[in-house]
């Protein structure tokens, strides 16, 4: 039904914002960053701390979460991640898992292990019912869809219409040739990583209400991010967008219509898709 579709779209768009940074990083730097979830968690916890201890309004916290995590991402990229680009994939996996462990434990130490609860501003609570209850839209989910749609359009615009976007696309396709053409690939990497992490932080802040926020967040949701990236492919952003929407709707609909199977549906769907199209559903030919 419509409400389920609506919920699925909201969930999917949230997943997209969380995972798009990972997708671009993997496509661009060929780097498997399993600590991506940690940036999301950082954004969420930052928002909680700002709201609870300093009384900052929720809407202001969102851009702050984006900027702060983006900044941290930029610093980490330059200092820790850069030496790792040349290393084999396995070392990268090891490295990022190590970072993830450290962040989980550190948050546990500073913030405690219980679920964090956010108090939303009044205007975001509440619900609108249309067509005699056939479509119920929670205002917060509406808000999520709106923000994520705006971000998607912005990303698409940057990618397609700006100089930076074309440099980014060139570097994704073939970084060596791009460097040969005089594109400063290092700075493209740095900016992309920062923006990707910032988006993850924003996603974490937005998602804390819907997905829950506790120190094990990065490990819990990593699987979902990886599914989005694997199914969506790493050579565009429309791929992960569609993959995330598919995942969100399948998950929500599955749990509603066939609750006995629940999570089964998502994994089986992913498996079938990957067996049918191993490169991901929406890959341009010629990408890597």
């Amino acid at each position: 039904m419509l409400t389920i579709l609506f919920d699925g779209i909201a969930y999917g768009m949230l997943l997209f914002i969380l995972a798009v940074g990972l997708s671009v990083t993997m496509g661009l730097m060929n780097f498997i960053n399993l600590a991506h979830g940690a940036f999301a968690m950082a954004g969420g916890y930052l928002t909680v701390v700002l709201m609870q201890r300093f009384g900052v309004p929720f809407l202001i916290c969102l851009p702050l979460a984006f900027l702060a995590t983006g900044f941290v991402g930029a610093i980490m990229e330059r200092s820790l991640y850069r030496p790792m680009y040349a290393k084999p994939h396995l070392d990268q996996v090891l490295f990022s898992i190590g970072l993830a462990f450290m962040s989980v434990s550190a948050i546990d130490y500073f913030m405690g292990s219980q679920q964090q609860i956010m108090q939303l501003p009044e205007m975001l609570k509440g619900r609108t019912e249309l067509w005699d209850g056939a479509l119920g839209m929670g205002h917060y989910r509406l808000f999520i869809i709106a923000i994520c749609a705006a971000l998607t359009l912005a990303l698409q615009y940057v990618l397609a219409k700006t100089t930076f976007g074309s440099r980014l696309r060139a570097s994704v396709d073939d970084s060596r040739v791009a460097a040969g053409l005089g594109i400063n690939v290092n700075s493209v990497f740095a900016i992309t990583f920062a923006v990707g992490s910032g988006l993850a932080g924003l996603g974490g802040a937005l998602g804390a209400e819907v997905l829950g926020l506790d120190p094990t967040f990065p490990l819990k949701f990593m699987v979902y991010f990886l599914i989005v990236v694997a199914v969506g492919g790493t050579s565009s952003i429309t791929g992960p967008l569609l993959a995330a929407l598919l995942l969100g709707i399948a998950d929500v609909a599955g749990k509603y219509y066939v609750p006995k199977l629940g999570a089964f549906i998502v994994y089986s769907l992913m498996l079938l898709i990957l067996l049918w199209r191993p490169q991901g559903l929406f890959v341009r030919k010629g990408g890597h």
Partner: protein, 387 residues
């Protein structure tokens, strides 16, 4: 490669040669808890309560010094079992305690039986645990105890049609079964039983289904800590405005996070064995001391399970004069005492806990949210025992 192998062999040999010193005049307690992972908050609460008890009652019992050994089992049963085995064999602990989840306790049961070491379950809540070994004693609670109380209360309060929503694991299934049986026996109707997967619980689609079924109330069980998400989704879906009441076992309004839930939790009626606002001098003392020692953290039902568990262990050790084994176990059975939750005793036959079950409602008291008890069902035995 050769050198690496040689050095590694030496390292292995050296590492394995470290032994632990044993001393006969110590009374050792092996506390195995989930200190990391999704149930870490349970481990924290219990550890804090145990340490509080020791701080209040000293660390000497029957002339021996009490040594507490805390281990993290990361909620993996084979690790729990190995740690328990090591504690029994190497450290020669007199009693094993803790056990945050049912599979962890069940996996360790054979060790307790084989080594004749009493095992005090401070958290896990499935009925069948105490039947897994004659050496198991429980001080936490069982889901059937909590569920049955509510199933008696609900029909008397205009709740005839219910959808049950539980987490898909042992205690959840217990909660669902016993509520359904008793509620149907009392003339009510459980129109649908939904089970939410344990991992990544997104309650939205399930609550939507509840809404579509239009019951009088939704009966809920989720593990300690997940109640917040459920509560929020409940309000967001507009279930309260649609006239559906939220009832359940007290895990959903866990004292640990209740205050942070906000007004959306007001009016939720639950049945449980412990509330931090229980009106007794002992409980007030317990809550004050606990919050003071733990930076304002409020104790929850897990903490009280740990606190009472220590009480049982200490008193039994005094009665057995520091001995372990069967003597210690016998001294644990049949203990009657006042706990922060109210009066309770350890049933000598089943070795399980018998205590009051309270029906409570969430209200704002002095600016904070508490589960206010308004009805008491006395001395509830676990209805889940097969014998």
């Amino acid at each position: 490669m050769q050198k690496r192998l040689f050095l590694s062999s030496l390292a292995v040999a050296a590492a394995l040669c470290s032994t632990s010193a044993m001393s006969q005049d110590k009374f050792k307690i092996g506390l195995i808890l989930p200190m990391t992972g999704p149930f870490a908050s349970t481990g924290k609460q219990i550890e804090a309560a145990v340490k509080l008890y020791m701080a209040q009652n000293g660390d000497m019992v029957a002339g021996k010094k009490v040594e507490l050994i805390v281990k993290d089992d990361t909620s993996a049963p084979d690790v729990t079992k190995r740690i328990a085995q090591e504690l029994v064999v190497n450290e020669k602990v007199s009693v094993l305690a803790g056990f945050g989840l049912t599979p962890l306790a069940l996996a360790t049961a054979p060790i307790a039986t084989q080594s004749k070491t009493p095992l005090v379950v401070m958290a896990a809540a499935t009925s069948s645990i105490t039947e897994a070994s004659p050496f198991i004693v429980r001080t936490s609670f069982t889901l059937p105890q909590a569920a049955v109380g509510l199933a008696d209360w609900a029909p008397k309060n205009n709740i005839k049609k219910v959808v049950s929503l539980v987490s898909d694991y042992g205690p959840g299934i217990d909660a669902e079964k016993f509520f359904k049986d008793r509620f149907t026996f009392n003339g009510g109707q459980v129109v649908e039983t939904l089970r939410v997967p344990m991992r990544n619980p997104d309650f939205a689609p399930f609550l939507q289904k509840v809404r579509d079924a239009k019951p009088d109330a939704v009966y809920v069980f989720v593990p300690s800590g997940a109640g917040a998400a459920l509560m929020k989704q409940f309000a967001e879906r507009g279930l309260d405005k649609a006239g559906i009441r939220l009832i359940g076992t007290g895990d959903v309004t866990d004292d640990d996070i209740l205050n942070a839930m906000g007004d959306v939790a007001l009016g939720v009626t639950t049945s449980h064995h412990y509330s931090a606002s229980h009106n007794s001098p002992l409980n007030k003392k317990f809550v004050d001391a606990f919050t003071k020692a733990n930076a304002g953290l409020r104790p929850n039902f897990m903490a009280v399970g740990g606190y009472d568990g220590m009480r049982v262990i200490y008193e039994a050790a005094k009665a057995s004069k520091g001995a372990g084994g069967q003597v210690l176990l016998d001294a644990m059975k049949g203990q009657v005492f006042e706990s922060p939750r109210g009066p309770m005793f350890i049933d000598a036959q089943t070795r399980d806990v018998v205590h009051n079950i309270y029906i409570r409602k969430v209200e704002r008291v002095g600016g904070q949210l508490y589960n206010q008890e308004f009805e008491t069902i006395k001395d509830v035995k676990d209805p889940g025992k097969s014998r």
